[in-house]
């Protein structure tokens, strides 16, 4: 039984990041895209904590992780508001159909 090291954390965070990107790219529902973003952020958080612990950076990494959580909360609030506005404008939250940028 090997000890849990930095690589395990990085693997977890990579998996989490990939799942997040996958969600962002493939999901049709805007809310699901948002959730993907949250996953990506949390993957970054795991990296920060892991490097803080194993990289010898002290509490700085944890501090940044706390900031990211706060940031994520704020981001969620704003993004949900945007989604709400999108729904009001286009009567849908399907991101495939919102392609007015093209024109």
């Amino acid at each position: 039984m090997t000890e849990i090291g930095l690589n395990h954390f990085l693997i977890v965070s990579t998996v989490l990041f990939s799942l997040g990107i996958f969600g962002i790219v493939t999901r049709k529902n805007a809310v699901m895209v948002l959730m993907g973003i949250e996953l990506v952020l949390n993957a970054a958080n795991i990296n920060f904590i892991a490097f803080a612990k194993y990289g010898g950076f002290g509490y700085q990494g944890q501090l940044v992780a706390l900031f990211v959580i706060v940031l994520a909360a704020a981001e969620a609030a704003i993004a949900l508001a945007i989604v709400l506005n999108i729904y009001k404008t286009f009567s849908t939250v399907d991101v495939d159909q919102i392609d007015t940028l093209k024109d």
């Binding site: 990107i21 790219v25 895209v33 991101v95 093209k102």
Partner: protein, 692 residues
């Protein structure tokens, strides 16, 4: 009486007629009696000029009063406006004012009923203003300006009846011929200016007497003097520019009296008098020759003319030639004296002819007159007195001045050996006497040749006769000298008119003008000394022979006139037939107009035609050619623009459109696509940077 007061007077004299001109011109249409205003200001000017002359001669007889203001200053050069009052100027201004006033009065009656009555007086005012300006100015630039003003006002007056083609032609002729002389004068003025950096007479003469000459040579001083004299040739109608004056008789007759007898034409002589001190011996000699020709040729023409005014016009040219000749031979005093006396009796003759023309209801041909003595006694008497004066009969002013001039030419002959001037002088004196009495006899004596016109003839009204009487009165000797036979005893030529100090270098003068020891009191045997004792003595010696000879020739001329026209001992027509070629030359005015038409006028028009052709063919050809070339180039460049440049631009647009079409595909508008691309490119970048 202070000098300042005199200056103020002369400024008033100068500008009052101008005010009259402006007022009469502006309000002439609204107020029909505005001409009275013009007459009144002129009368004030006249009174002031009388005071001016009296004060000048009584208190400042030996001094020259000048006053000037700065006009333009450029660098170190200052051009001044100024007034110079010497004896000659004040005498001249008095003559101008007397004649101008009398002509104004005469015109009131003569011009009555004219549709442009007020305008006529306005022009008279302008003319008087310009003439006074010439007389009073102290620098040659101002003189030139007034010179041109006189030119333009004479143009207006000669062409006053411009509905008549002959009048407007005559006005144009006078103006253009004058212009030819004025070009020379302008050149002379500029020569003086570039040499002396000033226009003021005194300063120029000062520098000349210090030996500063144009281009440092006496030759150029001669040239400058002659160039300025060109102005006098034009204005004083001297040979060869005399042709305008007889034609100028198309103007109203009082105008002829004012302009062509007494003032404008006298301006040329006045100019020569003014610059006399800077004329070299050579220049004076040429001036004398021009004067001699101008005296002789018109006198011969006057013998055969039939228009009463034309006879007088040629007589004027002849008399002006006399004065110029007198100046040329150095008889300065008598030349100016003759200018004064001639102004009066010639104005009287012209106004007299105006009176005759008025009385005969605009008949000017003496062949249709005769016997008018009974109908117009006062006109006859004054005309006769003036004719006697111009012929040079004792007791008249004309005798005094003419005698002086003849004595001058006589003296010149004895001093230099050039007797021709004296011979021509006496010959012209005889011709003058002859044609003047021919005129008098044909007009006033004998039987009326045109009964109808004679019956309707009448004496002119008082306001026309009065000026005649005044002018005839001024033709007597006692105004000028107490001795009816010798002007040298009188005040005019001894006290008032004095020859100037010659300022040209000694070796450029006539021999007799060279400085020698002058008599102590400036007089020899009671005679005034001018230039040198030698000259004075010569004039003194010449005086009595000249007087006797002039009496003889005048008597001869008058006698011949009576023999031919009064007593008809000789038939004029037969005489004319006998001397057919001579008569033709004289009758056709020596063919001057024809010669000028054939040479100068035809030459000018020919040259103009040639130039017009050159213009049409060559210049227009060049212009057209360059236009064609430009058009061709433009067409080519237009094509180039359309095909090459536009093609390039269109191609670029098409290309970018094409590229856009390709890249457009990538822009799906879906955020997720973009993200995929971002991540994809990020991964690529990561690989690239990893390998670095």
């Amino acid at each position: 009486m202070t000098e300042q007061l005199l200056i103020k007077f002369s400024i008033l004299i100068l500008f009052l007629p101008l005010i009259g001109f402006i007022v009469a011109l502006l309000f002439g249409k609204r107020f029909s009696r505005i001409y009275l205003f013009e007459n009144i200001v002129l009368f004030i000017s006249f009174v002031l000029s009388v005071i001016l002359v009296y004060a000048k001669l009584a208190y400042f007889i030996d001094s020259t009063i000048t006053s000037e203001i700065q006009w333009i200053t450029v660098g170190s050069t200052t051009i001044e406006l100024g007034i110079e009052l010497d004896n000659i100027a004040v005498l001249m201004i008095l003559v101008v004012m007397i004649i101008s006033l009398l002509v104004h009065l005469f015109s009131i009656a003569y011009m009555k009923g004219d549709s442009r009555y007020n305008r006529y007086f306005a022009y008279l005012g302008l003319f008087t203003f310009s003439m006074s300006g010439i007389v009073l100015t102290h620098n040659i630039l101002m003189m030139y300006i007034f010179w041109e003003l006189v030119g333009i006002s004479s143009y207006l007056l000669i062409g006053f009846w411009y509905e008549k083609k002959s009048a407007s032609d005559a006005a144009k002729k006078a103006f253009i011929v004058n212009r030819i002389g004025d070009i020379g004068m302008l050149a002379g003025v500029l020569m003086l200016f570039i040499t002396y950096d000033t226009f003021t007479f005194d300063k120029i003469f000062d520098q000349i007497s210090q030996g500063i000459l144009p281009f440092n040579s006496e030759f150029w001083l001669t040239v400058t003097g002659l160039l300025i004299f060109c102005g006098a040739i034009g204005k004083s109608a001297q040979f060869p520019l005399h042709v305008w004056l007889p034609d100028a008789m198309e103007g109203p007759t009082p105008v002829s009296a004012l302009i062509h007898a007494a003032t404008m034409v006298a301006a040329g002589v006045y100019l020569v008098v003014k610059v006399f001190t800077m004329l070299t011996g050579d220049a004076l000699f040429i001036i004398a020759i021009i004067g001699m020709l101008s005296a002789l040729i018109p006198a011969t023409i006057a013998l055969t003319q039939n228009d009463i005014k034309r006879v007088l016009a040629y007589s004027t040219v002849s008399q002006l030639g006399y004065m110029i000749m007198a100046l040329g031979v150095g008889a300065f005093t008598f030349a100016f004296f003759h200018l004064i006396t001639h102004a009066f009796f010639k104005a009287c003759l012209f106004l007299g002819s105006g009176s005759v023309i008025h009385g005969m209801h605009h008949e000017q041909d003496i062949r249709n007159m005769g016997g008018l003595r009974k109908k117009m006694p006062l006109t006859y008497a004054t005309f006769l007195i003036s004719s006697i004066a111009i012929s040079g009969v004792p007791l008249t002013s004309g005798f005094l001045s003419k005698d002086g001039i003849l004595a001058g030419t006589f003296a010149f002959g004895s001093l230099t050996g050039h007797w021709l001037f004296a011979i021509v002088g006496f010959l012209v004196a005889m011709l003058t006497a002859f044609y003047m009495f021919r005129l008098v006899i044909l007009t006033f004596h004998g039987e009326p040749r045109n009964k109808d016109k004679y019956d309707h003839a009448h004496e002119s009204p008082f306001i026309m006769v009065m000026p005649l009487v005044v002018l005839a009165g001024l033709s007597f000797f006692f105004w000028y000298t107490p001795n009816p036979l010798d002007a040298s005893k009188g005040w005019v030529v001894t006290e008032w008119i004095k020859p100037p100090q010659i300022s040209v270098p000694e070796n450029a003068r006539y021999d007799f003008m060279k400085t020698d020891i002058l008599a102590q009191d400036g007089k020899i045997d009671g005679y005034p000394v001018s230039y040198s004792q030698k000259y004075t003595k010569a004039v003194h010696q010449a005086h009595y022979p000249a007087m006797l000879l002039s009496l003889l020739v005048a008597g001869l001329g008058i006698l011949m006139a009576f023999v031919i026209y009064q007593w008809k001992k000789l038939d004029a027509d037969k005489l004319a037939l006998k001397m057919k070629p001579l008569y033709n030359i004289s009758y056709n005015k020596w063919y001057f107009d024809e010669i000028y038409d054939a040479t100068f006028v035809a030459g000018t028009t020919g040259l103009s035609k040639l130039l017009a052709k050159f213009d049409l063919k060559v210049i227009d050809g060049i212009v057209d050619g360059s236009a064609t070339v430009t058009r061709g180039t433009s067409t080519f460049s237009g094509r180039f623009d359309n095909i090459v440049v536009d093609g390039l631009v269109n191609f670029m647009a098409y290309l970018s459109g094409f590229i856009g079409l390709i890249f457009r595909r990538f822009q799906t508008g879906k955020v997720q696509t973009y993200i995929v691309m971002v991540i994809f490119s990020l991964v690529i970048l990561l690989f690239i940077f990893k390998s670095l």
